[in-house]
Structure formats: structure tokens, C-alpha cells
Amino acid sequence: MFQLILEMFTYPFMVRALCMGVLVALCSALLGVTLVLKRYSMIGDGLSHVGFGALAIATAMNAAPLAVAIPVVIAASFLLLRLSESGKIKGDAAIALISTGSLAVGVMVVSMTTGMNTDVYNYLFGSILSMSEGDVVLTGAVSAVILALFVFFYNRIFAVTFDETFARATGLNARLYNMVIAVLTALIIVVGMRMMGSLLISSLVVFPAVTSMRTCITFRSVMICSAIVSTVCLVTGLVISYLYAAPTGASIVLCNIAAFFLFTALQKLRESLQSREKPL
């Protein structure tokens, strides 16, 4: 088996997938913590559906997929943010409207033009084979930007996530940081969709955050823990998908589910140990 794993990395597309995957996993895990805590996890899900619609249209028009998808998804993320802030339409209902709406548009465009081919299938469920050299460069660039912005704004993102009113009262431009978060989320979703597929990418955002929040009690440790969990799950998932010829996206999500249950069990164990110690 070890032999097999070594062999796996002699294929250039596997190395490419690994590099891309690790970057996407890192970024989505970091952003995921903020999104989950701000109750924006559904925004990530909605955006991935918008991404599918945009990719379908791009294919129909023979345009570069990411060049179309990135601006469209960023615009959608601003819209969703505005909707959930204003509270005029219920935020979650608005997200459901937009995500199913764009899915419908995507399906319609696909059936009227190319029909349900492998390209479309890959948009939905992801594929590591469809990634080109250009995709890798773009992913690298986008992830570098996300990581840099995230590290730079880390303390401010914490303040805005923890208590937006206080942050605004003490002069932080909360709206700006919300927008930064929205743009970064849109970027990571579009980039990650190539590998994970639009139906599965939001799990990469939500799972590591929720998993590490089971056991960690400080914001920083949750961040670090979810970055690690996310990366480990991605690599394991990739190896499993190679070994058993399983779909990559689904394997990674299953690893994340396993990690979630593992952390939950650990937490339960720790609690029961603590409660046994207490009475002394």
C-alpha cells in the first residue's frame, strides 16, 4: 500500500491535485470558521450553486469557465450579504431562492446547449482530471491572496465575528470586513469547485470548522485545528480515492465526516473524564 501511495505521486495530475487541494482546504477551513460563527454557512452553499449556473453559461458561450464564474459569484456574494444584513427578506429564504434559481438556470442552459456531458458532470461532482496547468496557477494565486488577507486581517475578523456592534462602535469598518469575507468566500468556492464539485464544495467550508469547535475553546486554536483537520482530511481523501478509484470529492467529504465523529467522541470522553475527577 505504501508503494501504491508513492506511485500515486509519480503522476503529474496527482501532484497537481494535491497542491491545489491543500491550498483550497487551508483557505476554506480558515474562512469556514468565520462563516459558521457568523451564521453564514448557507451563503457558502448558495454561492456554489450560483457557481454552477455561471459555469454552465460559460460553457454554452465557449468562454473561459473561471473568468465568467468569479465575477458572477462575487456579485452574488455581495447580494446575499446585503440580503442577510438588511433582514427585509429572511436571509435563509433569500439564499434558498438564489441557489435553487441559479441551479435551475444552469440546468436549463445545459439541456438547451451541450446536454448532460462529462463537463457538466464534473461541475456538479468535481474531478481532479479536469484541472489544467492554468487552473493550478490561478488556484495558487487566489489562495495566496486569501491567506495573506486572512493573516493580515485576522484580529479584525475576530472582532467583527465576535461582536459586530462593538467593533463598529470602536471605529472598525465592519461592513468592509464583511465584504472582504464575502469576496474571499466567493473566490475559494469558485476555485474549489473544480476539484470538489459545486454540490460538495461547501462541506469543505463547514465541516472542519464545526469539527474543531467540538473540542477547541479559543478562536485561534479553532482556526489552527480546522486548518489541520481540513488538510489531513483532504490528503487522506485523495489517497483513498486513488487507491479505490472512488470519486475524489465524495471521499474527502467522507473523511471530514469521520473526523467530525472522532472529535465528538473525544469531547465526550474528555467530559466524562472531567466529571469523574470533579467530585474529589
Binding site: L37, R39, V151, F152, F153, Y154, N155, R156, F158, A159, F162, D163, T165, F166, A167, R168, A169, T170, G171, L172, M213, C216, I217, T218, F219, R220, S221, V222
Partner: protein, 296 residues
Amino acid sequence: MSLISCDNLAFAYDGVTVLHGLNFKIEQGDYLCILGENGAGKSTLMKGLLGLKRPSAGSVTFGEDLRAREIGYLPQQTPVQKDFPASVREVVLSGCLSGMGMRPFFGKAEKERAARNMEALEITDLADRCYRDLSGGQQQRVLLARALCATKKVILLDEPVAGLDPLVTINMYKLIERINSEMGITVIMVSHDVQAATNYASHILHLGEDRQLFFGTCEDYRYSAAYHSFMDGGKAVHIWKKAQVKKPAPAAGAAPAETVSAPTEAAPEGTAVSDAAAEKKESPAAQEKAEKEVRK
């Protein structure tokens, strides 16, 4: 020049005015207590002072050496989710952000500042605990430490003792007093506790249904009709009568704007009536008191 001065300030939600005609000045080192019933607009005024809510009329002017972002704030309710993972240290440190400009990370100065404020509020031993696991009183102190980190001059507290037990409440008031007297920070506090307000504060701002009933020093407040309308009937009249004997003429100038002096119906001669209109507004309450007195 005053630290903060409000001129004819008014606030509205969706076009409906909830508060109007606010005129008061806050000087460096004051301890102002804002009183008023539920829905009087106290929290709205706080948000206005912080620049979170735009006035519908009038203006808030800050003194030369105070910028809006140098104000510390303790919100009435902090809508922090129950499952938010954050240590006390992280929460307190986040208060230091306001003074950092574009600098991305906390330096030594910020860390020392957070440590000092945690020391002052006696939460140093909680520093590595998770904020969500603390009791309400401990959380309140953490948020107060955070607010202190955000300011050197002014701190706004919106009902800091709501939900605390009597002992912790007294501790909290003492802490706030020390913040005012030892650190020299101007305190603006919303409260429902008239007793404590008059004990600790130097100035009182009393808001009625949608307007300012009284602004002035704590001394003067005890002799004002606004104070008595707030206290429960019989007892209040008793105090009020004594007040009339001791201090028959509250100086009209000392308490500006809509300050209400003792109403004529029940007041002995010699009482200065500063504002005829205000007097009319107050007279029903005074009559009620007078009636109660007669019944006795």
C-alpha cells in the same frame, strides 16, 4: 470646550421620532447616569453618541481631543452566540484594535494594556477560560475590560448591572466608580437603579417618554420633579417635603434646558419656576402626589 455636547438632538426609527430635544454637555471626568423607563430611548441615545445611529435632528459635538473611536462601550445585550469559541484574553484584546490604525497584529503595548485591565477587573485568573463558559457577572466584567481597552477617556455602559445578583451589582458599581475616580475616565451609564445612580453619579440625565426631563448635577436632581415622578408615591413626597424645607429654591441656572423645578401646587412660596411649559407638563404628577399627601 466640553468633552461631548448635544444640541437639540433627536433620533427617529423609520421616520418615527423616539427621542427629541436633547441638550446636555459632558465634561471630562464626569460620571453621568442616564435614567428612564423601558423604551425611553436610552440605548438609542448611546448608539447616537457612538455614531452607530445617525441623529434625525441636532448634533453631537466632540471636544477637540476626543474622536468617536476613542469611546469604550459595554452594550446592553451582547448577541454572542452560545457556542462561540473565544478565550477571555482574546475578547479583551479585541478591544485594543481601535487604537492600532492599520497595524495588523497586537504589539507589546496592547498586550500589557489588556493585562492591566484584566488585573483591574480581577479577571486575570480567567484569562485562558472560554468566554462562553463564564457566569453572567464574569462575562460582564470581561466586556468591561474590553471596553476599557478601547478607551483612555470615555466609557459608555448600557445597563451594566442587568441580571447580576445584589452582591455582584455592588461590586460592579464600585468598579465603575474606581474607573471614574482612579483612572480618570468619563463614565456615561444607563441604569434603572435610581438609588445607585444618585449615590454614585455626578450628573443625571433623565429621559421621559420621548424627551429630556432633567439634566443637571446629582444634587439638583434630588430636588427635581422628574426625580419624584420616578420614585414611588408616598415615600417620594416625604423626601420631597424635606427637600423643600432644606433647599427651597433650586437654582434655575444650574440645571439647564428642560429642568423642572418644584411644581407650584404643592410647593411653598419662594420656589423658582424656571419653565412654565415644563411646569404644566409636570403638574399632573405633582397633583397626584399632593392628593396622596392629603389622604394621609
